[in-house]
């Protein structure tokens, strides 16, 4: 008896999209059907803001249709933004907000073209953990894998950046020494 859901076709297509997402791909068909009745379908107009940098985040989005551009404010000019990446269908973003309290969005997201997103938020995850703990464990485990991989990638990027900075500094120092020696010789 389902009094409030008439479009079971749309639920089936949501289940299919969720099955292809890393957070949900371990779930059984039954569990996916359950989740598909919980998630929120949001439609965005071209160039519409999805969320803003520094804003308190509530959850993640999975891209169903269209494109999403992630931007960040330029540190030196507050009115300018840098494009970080553009995401296509199947991608997901904002998942950190699912497991952190009062988390701030580290970038802004804009719809590029007519865009459809599936929203999965913290209250939905808590509801699943309370009502279907086994399913909650599967999602949380996958979420922890995503976050740990992000941490590894961020560490690698940070190490690379530090290395590049050190090499740059060394080059500058060497150049300064050469310049000084040349000045001494000429003097």
């Amino acid at each position: 008896m389902d009094l409030f859901t008439k479009n079971s076709d749309s639920d089936a297509s949501i289940s299919k999209i969720l099955k292809n997402n890393q957070l949900f791909f371990k779930l059984t068909r039954r569990e996916l059907n359950y989740i598909s009745k919980m998630v929120h379908i949001r439609n965005y107009d071209p160039d519409e803001l999805i969320f803003s940098q520094g804003e308190k985040g509530l959850g993640m989005y999975i891209l169903v249709k269209g494109m999403v551009e992630i931007t960040r404010n330029a540190p030196e000019k507050a009115d300018q933004e840098y494009s970080v990446t553009t995401l296509g269908p199947g991608s997901f973003f904002g998942e950190l907000a699912l497991c952190s309290r009062d988390s701030k969005r580290t970038g802004s997201a804009f719809a590029r073209g007519p865009t459809t997103l599936i929203g999965f938020f913290k209250p939905d995850l808590i509801d699943i953990m309370e009502r279907k703990p086994q399913m909650g464990v599967k999602i949380l485990y996958q979420l922890s894998r995503v976050i740990s991989r992000r941490l590894i990638e961020t560490n690698a990027a940070f190490a690379q950046s530090v290395l590049e900075t050190q090499v740059e500094h060394r080059k500058q120092n060497e150049q300064q020494i050469i310049d000084l020696e040349e000045k001494k010789k000429s003097a």
Partner: protein
């Protein structure tokens, strides 16, 4: 291919779109500042959302036969929701649990109708018969006391407090009896509507909420969802705790009165339970009928100390066991805020306003906290 290999391939494919690499950040070019204001389409969506919200609320509140049933069903949803969730956690289908619960509830109501309702009816009838006698006696006693206390001054003598008080109580009693048939018809409608609405709320509550949330404009969606989730979470716990608390206090008073063979034990228990949710003064209001009765009913005059002890015990159990363990953990409001909200509630809506004062104050607290934290977090320093 092994399952683990499949997993890693799948992860790789997702990873591509997940984290922007450092090189992508460095290579990116500045883009024009984006428009963050509300578009015409979003403004229209916001207006539609407000219109639907206010329209549905007005429709429910303006229909006297519907409003109490919806309110009771929402209260029952909050009381039984956690219980149904706990059964669902054990793998029992939600529909089975709700149907069983409603059947057990219906059976309980049937037994209560057969066993308790005749007793309450008898008590009401006895009270109606004796009320004129009690009224005269009470009026006489109060008049005597007034003469003793205030008779010395001619100014107080002209006030005629007892006459004014009795006129007011007669007017209120008349109003109550004239509205009784109306109340009975509402009760009959609620008897059919409440189980139906409770079933729908318990089974499809989250679907109804999801449909409603789909009307919220994108720009306000996360804020609205966050606030509504916090309100439902806190209010659910608070309402359930208050109902359980009122039931326990009412039961202690009723059983105590029955042991002492005090007449109208069920009515006194019922009064204690109804007035208990009013913060601070509720237990005192609940004890007033018993104290008035002890002043005019000769059969219980020698039990007065015991009667006071029963109310004291019920409220001590409430104050030191039920309230700290159940209610206080849920709604964390400063006592001054509670008192002010109760006064404002009583000024606006009387007894109902006093009962609803704490939940409304708590909702306002959540709203202020959420809006403030969102403004602060958005405009405060951002850590990378």
């Amino acid at each position: 291919m092994k399952k683990e290999e499949l997993d890693s391939i799948e992860e790789e494919s997702h990873a591509k779109s997940l984290v922007p690499s450092a090189s992508r950040i460095l290579l990116s070019k500045p883009i024009n500042s984006q428009s963050r204001g509300l578009s015409k389409h979003e403004a229209m969506r916001l207006a539609y959302f407000i219109f639907v919200s206010l329209g549905v609320s007005a429709l429910v509140l303006a229909t006297p036969t519907l409003a109490p049933s919806v309110l009771i069903s929402i209260l029952l949803f909050f009381v039984f929701g956690p219980l149904i969730d706990s059964f669902e956690r054990k793998g029992i289908p939600r529909v089975t649990v709700i149907t069983s619960l409603l059947l057990i509830g219906g059976l309980g109501m049937l037994i209560a109708t057969n066993k308790i309702t005749p007793r309450i009816s008898q008590e009401i009838e006895a009270f109606q018969q004796g009320s004129s006698k009690y009224g005269v006696e009470l009026k006489q006693k109060l008049a005597d006391q007034e003469m003793k206390l205030l008779g010395s001054s001619p100014f107080f003598r002209n006030l005629k407090l007892v006459d004014k008080g009795s006129a007011w109580s007669e007017k209120m009693a008349d109003k109550l009896w004239t509205s009784a048939p109306n109340l009975a018809s509402h009760f009959a409608i609620a008897l059919f509507l409440v189980p139906f609405l409770t079933f729908i709320f318990l089974k499809d509550g989250h679907k109804i909420r999801r449909r409603y949330l789909s009307l919220v404009p994108n720009r306000f969606f996360e804020t609205f969802y966050s606030i509504s989730s916090r309100i439902i979470e806190e209010m659910g716990g608070y309402v359930a705790a208050r109902i359980i608390e009122a039931f326990l206090v009412g039961t202690i008073v009723c059983v105590g009165c029955m042991i002492l063979k005090v007449p109208y034990a069920f009515l006194l228990g019922l009064m204690a339970a109804i007035t208990n949710p009013i913060p601070y003064i509720g237990p005192v209001i609940g004890a007033v009928p018993a104290l008035l009765l002890s002043a005019i009913e000769p059969s219980i005059q020698h039990h007065l100390v015991w009667l006071i002890l029963i109310y004291l015990m019920a409220n001590l159990v409430d104050m030191f066991l039920i309230f700290p363990m159940v209610v206080a953990k849920i709604v964390n409001l400063h006592p001054v805020v509670v008192i002010i909200s109760v006064i404002l509630g009583s000024q606006a809506f009387g007894v109902l306003g006093m009962i609803l004062a704490v939940p409304i104050a708590s909702i306002l607290k959540i709203l202020i906290q959420e809006v403030y934290s969102r403004i602060y977090v958005t405009h405060g320093p951002v850590d990378f």
